[in-house]
């Protein structure tokens, strides 16, 4: 209280007054302007960019493979590169038994990747910056692992938690650690994507705000902004790749029991 009387501000006051630093405002979810006060108000900017992402993927892939030939043209080659990428990812980790999971893993990768790319466009919305969506995707993958594992191997699947070749007095601790690390998977799986996208966009916003204060500062910070944007593009791809890669790694536990 005495600090306030002395003219010092608390953190909350500073946030209200220093509107130049509205770092988290870019992540606000609100209905897009076109549907305000209509029955379609459920289309928020998040939902809009998700629909856009799915539409872009579906339309491009359908158009590129519409007239598939044995000798591919330029557009068909692009879609084949994407398919080869997913095929390599899945067969590297799941082996021959991984073929049925290729559509799922590739869809997850494309959805996250294209959504992140939309997020890099100015005035757009980064869908993956909300932990509710990434957590949902991670929990779906987590449930899939348990379901497929029990479906394929029955109750024997739970021997996954008991690593072989461990002394018997160490086994209770190992089982405890294995179970803990299994159930913490959806947490890290979702938080990695969310934290990387959020933190990257906040850093861009901070440097951008600094650059907008003065002309000289803006010119001086321009190379840094360009470099950071390039880094963000890399992170957008890398995090989508890691999300799909970890989905495949987790699915490998369900597909094959190796001792």
């Amino acid at each position: 209280m005495s600090a306030r009387e002395n003219g010092e501000l608390t953190m909350a006051d500073k946030n209200e007054n220093g509107s130049a630093f509205d770092l988290l405002g870019q992540f606000d979810i609100a209905p897009i302007k076109a549907v305000k006060d209509t029955p379609f108000e459920f289309i928020t900017n998040s939902a809009f960019f998700m629909i856009l992402t799915v539409a872009v993927i579906a339309v491009l892939m359908l158009v590129f493979t519409a007239s598939a030939r044995v000798v591919p043209g330029r557009r068909q080659t692009l879609s084949e590169i994407i398919y080869d990428f997913g095929f390599g990812l899945v067969t590297d980790i799941l082996g021959k038994h991984g073929r049925p999971f290729l559509p799922f893993v590739l869809s997850v990768f494309l959805f996250v990747f294209v959504a992140n790319m939309w997020g890099m466009m100015p005035y757009s919305f980064t869908v993956m910056s909300h932990v509710s969506l990434t957590a949902f995707m991670a929990v779906v993958i987590f449930s899939m692992v348990i379901y497929i594992g029990v479906r394929r191997h029955g109750l024997k699947w739970f021997s996954l938690f008991a690593p072989s070749g461990v002394p018997f007095w160490l086994l209770p601790f190992m089982i405890f650690i294995e179970v803990l690390s299994f159930f913490v998977r959806p947490l890290t799986h979702s938080l990695r994507l969310f934290a990387n996208m959020t933190a990257g966009h906040i850093v861009l916003k901070v440097i951008g705000t600094f650059a907008s204060f003065t002309l000289i500062g803006g010119i001086a910070l321009l190379p840094a902004l360009v470099a950071l944007s390039a880094l963000e593009f890399l992170v957008a791809y890398l995090q989508a790749y890691i999300f799909a890669l970890l989905a495949a790694v987790y699915l490998a536990d369900a597909v094959e029991l190796h001792h």
């Binding site: 608390t10 890290t188 990695r192 890691i242 890669l245």
Partner: protein
């Protein structure tokens, strides 16, 4: 000193968990480059598992970030 100040201080201290993640990531990538420069043919074989190790190591740093977020926005 108000509660908000202590919150900011605690959140800042919580991010120190990334020191360990940074050391771990440096070890992983350093060893990867060493392995690949000794045997360039092994690059494709190691690349996938490089990123798996990268993700698993970074997860520990993300736990620290989670604590920082909880201090700032949840409690």
């Amino acid at each position: 000193m108000t509660l908000e100040m202590f919150k900011a201080l605690g959140a800042g201290l919580a991010t120190m968990g990334f020191i360990g993640a940074g050391i771990g990531l440096g070890t992983i990538f350093g060893n990867y480059f060493q392995a690949v420069s000794r045997n360039p043919a092994s690059q494709d074989k190691f690349q996938t598992w490089l990123f798996v190790g990268f993700a698993l190591t970074e997860a520990l740093g993300i736990f620290a970030l989670l604590i920082a977020f909880m201090i700032m926005f949840v409690i």
